[in-house]
Symmetry: C2
Subunit: 122 residues, 2 copies
């Protein structure tokens, strides 16, 4: 914990930035798949439907920058690169899986509400 007196509005803004990063759907899916163990780029590509090569590259880079994912290159021929969660990344899997469980359980209720809303406002 920092001992400096924080500005609550700055706090709120910074918190929003963190949530925007980790609430991104590709981030949630990559963290979810890495929670099962280290994976290679192509393994993640296969496991996550609809993700593009570029989007997976950007998502992994963002996660490395945030300190949530570690990239390890092994000096084999051809070189092998693994991606795995750091301890910080592992600590995120609990909150994210709660959110994913909620989304999965309530998806049909949300879609039903959307159909009613779109019918009313059409």
């Amino acid at each position: 914990m920092s001992t400096e007196v924080a500005n609550p509005r700055d706090d709120c803004r910074a918190l929003g930035q963190v949530i925007d990063r980790i609430g991104d759907k590709w981030t949630v899916m990559v963290v979810g798949h890495l929670s099962e163990g280290p994976q290679r780029f192509n393994g993640l590509m296969r496991a996550i439907p609809g993700i593009s090569h570029r989007m997976l590259t950007l998502t992994l880079r963002g996660l490395q920058r945030d300190g949530l994912v570690r990239r390890t290159q092994f000096p084999t021929i051809p070189p092998r690169v693994d991606y795995e969660l750091t301890d910080l990344g592992l600590s995120l899997t609990g909150p994210l899986s709660m959110l994913a469980r909620w989304a999965s359980a309530e998806r049909s209720s949300i879609e039903a509400a959307q159909r009613v809303y779109d019918g009313e406002t059409a």
Copy 2:
């Protein structure tokens, strides 16, 4: 629950859409403030630093469409409009507050990791 045989890839995609919607930082903040009780538009504007009139309008509209927020207009002069969480919206506050607590607790670790990464790649 639907009885049709679901395609797991479609499921995963639909789940991603729900997470993208509810993982948006303004959505998280609006749901967080509404968890304390019904609020008016201007009250939310004051409570959420940095949100624009247009972004609050869009966020509330999205939450109404998803069935998470109820808008009630009272026939007073001038008319009064309240926004409050539905039962579905209330059920989201648990998972979201876990995520917000994680973001708040780990924000300084994330920012430290970003400084190291940006220094290494500069």
